[in-house]
């Protein structure tokens, strides 16, 4: 049976990519993205350029309205209440039912609330979508005392942006050096030290409770310390939005389970992006990917799978982050079994490479590394063996070694 209609639930990067790739691959049937947010937009700027006001809502759209019209991709600005499996479709909040030959779930994640008293307060800010960013932006004025719980990617980027907006920022994390799993301890230490260097109050501690005060909030730490602030932002990760899938009986386990072609346990239903979790052919579950590129890659894979075309090949996973004027990139796995080779410049680590015993590169991370990570990505994907001395030598452009 040929496919004549496809519904995509969720218009983030993953859902958008499915639609874009379906059209690029020649699918000419009905195609709709259901998302209350309307035109799909890019999220990385929400903690940076958009929060700072350098980019407006139009500037972060993944494509202009005219593009969706040209490509006959319908944007349904609605919330899905339930999935229907026989026949395949969705029920919208107003009771309307849409049917399709294929269903793609791209519902993303929600900001994880702090599991402490006060963590559920409406006045506690999070940053996940554009509305969150608008609210956060409206909460920050010069002199605003902003406490951020969680110094991972979102927390660190917001801390940097809020500082630029004139806020007095306190950054709290129970982990002494965040981001070690992403970039390794050496670069993570240097990155984390940049916060204090920029004038942020950095606190190593575990929040135990948040209470409202007359004009703001009070955060109590487990060790009794108290932080008085105007606003609180919590950035401690996400929980995947699997409720629709669970209610419909799809298999889930901290994510909707999919095979390597993004197919869920229900024929005709696919899942992509932050909320999808891959079950490998041997039955083991992969770690759920939450980075920008993962959303795009899984969307591209799903589009190919839906059309029964050759799936794209994706290389080692890659991410970036920007804070305090420093561009951070990582590729592959800095936690893999092996040893770390550091590249030191002016006494500071600028790049770290995770290398297996046989010399294969497994992961790499760099600060303001120029083309270092692009080269590392190719070295990893192509299995190129690079001498350890060359990796450690800041005078050797990695680019030469990847050719």
């Amino acid at each position: 049976m040929s496919i004549e209609s496809i519904l995509i639930v969720g218009g983030g990067l993953a859902g958008f990519t499915v639609a874009q790739n379906l059209r690029a691959r020649g699918y000419a049937g009905s195609l709709q993205i259901i998302d209350p947010a309307g035109i799909p937009y890019d999220r990385p700027p929400l903690s940076k350029g958009y929060l700072l006001g350098d980019k407006d809502a139009a500037a972060i759209e993944l494509a202009p309205a005219s593009w969706f019209a040209e490509h006959r991709i319908g944007l349904v600005p609605a919330t899905v209440r339930a999935l229907a499996l026989e026949p395949l479709g969705v029920e919208l909040e107003d009771g309307a039912v849409l049917q399709a030959d294929r269903l793609v779930l791209a519902t993303g994640g929600s900001a994880r609330p702090l599991p402490i008293p006060g963590g559920e307060l409406d006045s506690v800010l999070v940053l996940r979508d554009r509305q969150d960013a608008d609210r956060l932006r409206a909460s920050i004025a010069p002199g605003t005392r902003l406490a951020i719980v969680g110094a991972g990617l979102i927390g660190a980027e917001v801390a940097s942006s809020a500082l630029a907006l004139g806020a007095e920022v306190t950054l709290i994390d129970p982990v002494e050096t965040p981001l070690v799993p992403a970039v390794g301890p050496e670069l993570a230490r240097r990155l984390h030290a940049m916060h204090a260097g920029a004038g942020i109050t950095v606190i190593h501690g575990t929040p135990a409770g948040i209470t409202r005060t007359g004009t703001g909030h009070r955060i109590e730490l487990a060790d009794g310390r108290v932080i008085e602030c105007d606003e609180v932002l919590v950035g401690i990760g996400i929980t995947p939005n699997t409720a629709l899938a669970e209610a419909a009986g799809l298999q889930t386990d901290n994510g909707v389970l999919v095979d390597e072609n993004q197919r869920t346990s229900r024929p005709g239903v696919y899942a992509v992006g932050d909320m999808a979790r891959t079950r490998r052919p041997d039955g083991t579950l992969a770690r759920r990917g939450e980075h920008w590129e993962h959303a795009m890659n899984t969307g591209a894979t799903a589009a190919a799978a839906i059309l029964a075309q050759e799936p794209p090949v994706h290389g080692a996973s890659w991410f970036w982050s920007d804070r305090h004027g420093t561009h951070v990139e990582g590729v592959g796995d800095m936690n893999a079994d092996g040893t770390t080779i550091l590249r030191i410049h002016d006494g500071e680590p600028v790049a770290a490479f995770r290398v297996a015993a046989d010399g294969t590169m497994l992961g790499a991370a760099a600060l303001d590394g120029g083309l270092t990570i692009k080269a590392a990505r190719r070295i990893i994907d192509r299995g190129i063996i690079v001498p350890a001395e060359a990796l450690a030598d800041p005078g050797v452009p990695l680019r030469k070694l990847a050719r």
Binding site: E61, L62, W320, G370, A375, R403
Partner: protein, 121 residues
């Protein structure tokens, strides 16, 4: 940022950038307005095959210099967020950039690399 006026002012004037070996294959060079007479910086790219192309140097996505990017075949990958653009036509090939890079015509004639700032390829 709009250089329509600049393009009209520079017209089809060619700038002689150098001999055909001025760039190693697989490398790029920033051509500033003092050289090109064009208001915006231009990136000059040479592919591994030896062909020359030119695009606006600034990535259409965020402030980044495409001439500091990675040349692969006939594509340039932005050094910052890895959007890729076709060197021949400036077409954006992947996110996060969503618009094309503007091309400038480059000719190789009589052993010289000639850039036509403001004239599309």
């Amino acid at each position: 940022m709009d250089s329509t006026g600049g393009a009209a002012a520079t017209g089809r004037r060619a700038v002689d950038l150098g001999d055909t070996e001025m760039l190693e294959p697989g490398t790029a060079l920033l051509i500033g307005s003092e050289t090109s007479g064009h208001p915006d910086d231009i990136g000059l790219f040479r592919t591994e095959n030896g062909d020359y192309f030119a695009l606006d140097d600034e990535c259409p996505h965020e402030v980044a210099s495409l001439s500091e990017g990675w040349i692969e075949g006939e594509e340039i990958e932005c050094p910052l967020h890895s959007s890729r653009f076709g060197l021949r036509d400036g077409k954006v090939l992947c996110l996060p950039a969503t618009s094309d890079a503007r091309t400038h015509r480059v000719e190789v004639a009589n052993g010289r690399v000639l850039l036509y700032p403001g004239t599309p390829a």
